[in-house]
């Protein structure tokens, strides 16, 4: 393990490098134009990492998720999902504020406090029963997006999976700023952090078993499909699922109108 000071320096350099990459004209078209040509200059290494991640998923993660889904009762799985979501609430609050979304920050705060205190550390989703509004999940990648940072080149990261230059920086920032991680590191309980990562991976994987199976089976190029979905999903998240820019759907039967110069 790298000593703390060295790993902090490494992270800072990586942060700066990816931020520079994201800003440096590698960004794909205007914000929200996910339907344009995909920006994947690193396609060759990305496909390699994607294939490696697929192997790990098929051999280890998916089987674990399937067993988890099949053997652990629904209420227990729900409780696990609740705890994991609750641990992320501080990051959602912070990122919502950074985006100027006071409503979402307030909803997230309400849920976090209610579920942590009354819901025994997030195990019970008391807030839903009490009518506290649900909140949208926010991360630093989305924050950067709302600030106008372009997504930069598409990246497939080992184990973490699909990302892009901006979202990778966002992931790093969220990891550093995560109060739960800071707390556990401070008391040297790194085992808890590894457990959380593992459980989180299995939990989220178990919710999309059928969907991923379908995509794998029906895609002509699963890598390209996954890449397209990622870009569109992130754009929808950044815009908070409001209507996104639609591409053109021309009328093929009508000949294209010849360009007319505007009246002086």
């Amino acid at each position: 393990m790298m000593p703390a000071s060295l790993s902090r320096r490494f992270l800072r350099t990586a942060f700066a490098a990816t931020l520079a990459l994201a800003m440096a004209g590698c960004a794909s078209g205007p914000k929200g134009a996910a339907h344009e040509e995909v920006n994947d200059p690193l396609e060759v290494p990305n496909r390699f990492v994607f294939a490696a991640n697929e192997a790990v998923d098929i051999l280890a993660i998916r089987p674990a998720a399937e067993i988890y889904h099949g053997t652990v009762p629904d209420p227990v799985r729900q409780a696990v999902a609740n705890v994991l979501a609750n641990l992320l609430a501080p990051l959602v609050i912070g990122n919502s504020l950074l985006q100027g979304d006071v409503q979402n920050a307030s909803d997230a705060t309400g849920r976090f406090l209610t579920n942590t205190i009354l819901g025994v550390g997030g195990v019970f989703d008391v807030a839903s029963a009490a009518g506290v509004p649900a909140y949208r999940s926010e991360d630093f990648g989305q924050t950067l997006g709302t600030w106008g940072v372009g997504d930069g080149p598409y990246l497939v990261l080992p184990l973490i999976g699909r990302s892009n230059a901006r979202d990778a920086v966002g992931y790093g920032a969220d990891t550093l700023a995560d109060p739960f991680r800071i707390g556990m590191s401070a008391i040297n309980a790194n085992g808890v952090l590894y457990t959380r990562t593992g459980v989180s991976a299995v939990d989220s994987r178990s919710q999309i078993l059928k969907e991923v199976d379908d995509l794998r089976r029906n895609s002509v190029d699963f890598y390209a499909t996954a890449r397209s979905l990622y870009g569109q999903q992130r754009n929808a998240q950044i815009r908070n699922s409001r209507a996104v820019d639609s591409p053109e759907f021309p009328d093929f039967d009508k000949p294209a109108p010849s360009p007319v110069s505007p009246m002086p």
Binding site: H35, E211, N218, Y223, T225, L229, A236, S246, F249
Partner: protein, 207 residues
């Protein structure tokens, strides 16, 4: 991060079209006929597939019928191919369209035939593009949170057709277009590469 809400691929509901809009279409306002079309379509689909006693081949045939009546499959196929359409020969175009329809059926038919109690409600309509209408719906599932599905509807002389489906902000047309473009580019820009891949894909399972 992948979540179930974002990843539903088989959430489209089909129904018979054949509802002729009696209202003139104004470019700037949503066409109320489009909403009625989707309503009729969805109800028809639910009625068709809720009947579990019909044999599989009949259900598949029903699916194909509803698909072609509700969706402009040739238009979608051509749109998905994008700029490569004009680079394809008429034979390639024809084979591509056949394979494209087979792929749609293979991809979605199973999910419809396995229908298990989903319902939907129309939450609104809005004009889109020059003359299309986006009909926003919520698919209510027995297990899991509702899914937002938007239907891009275009008026055709005899009625309406769906030309794109947007699930939780993700356009099925855009996804497929980017996927096919990637396949063609991986094959040195040759459309035959895509056609070959589609042949293999649709041959894997009789549809």
């Amino acid at each position: 991060m992948l979540t179930r809400r974002h990843l539903l691929t088989g959430a489209a509901l089909l129904a018979l079209s054949g509802w002729a809009a009696l209202n003139p279409v104004f470019a700037q306002s949503a066409d109320p006929g489009a909403g009625a079309f989707i309503q009729k379509l969805g109800t028809e689909a639910i009625n068709s597939f809720a009947n579990k006693s019909q044999p599989k081949p009949a259900a598949l045939a029903k699916f194909k019928q509803l698909l072609n009546e509700g969706f402009d499959v040739p238009y979608i196929g051509r749109w998905v191919l994008g700029r490569y359409w004009n680079q394809a020969s008429p034979q390639q175009q024809q084979e591509y369209q056949q394979l494209f329809e087979q792929l749609i059926v293979k991809t979605y038919a199973e999910r419809f035939v396995e229908y298990s109690g989903e319902t939907f409600k129309i939450t609104g309509t809005r004009p889109e593009g020059e003359s299309d209408t986006m009909v926003t719906t919520q698919i209510i599932r027995p297990a899991g949170p509702p899914v937002a599905v938007d239907w891009r509807v275009r008026k055709r002389d005899a009625g309406y057709k769906i030309i794109d489906v947007v699930v939780e902000g993700v356009s099925m047309g855009v996804t497929q277009r980017q996927e096919f473009a990637s396949v063609i580019q991986s094959n040195g820009g040759k459309i035959d590469g895509l056609i070959q891949a589609l042949r293999q894909k649709t041959a894997q399972q009789p549809g």
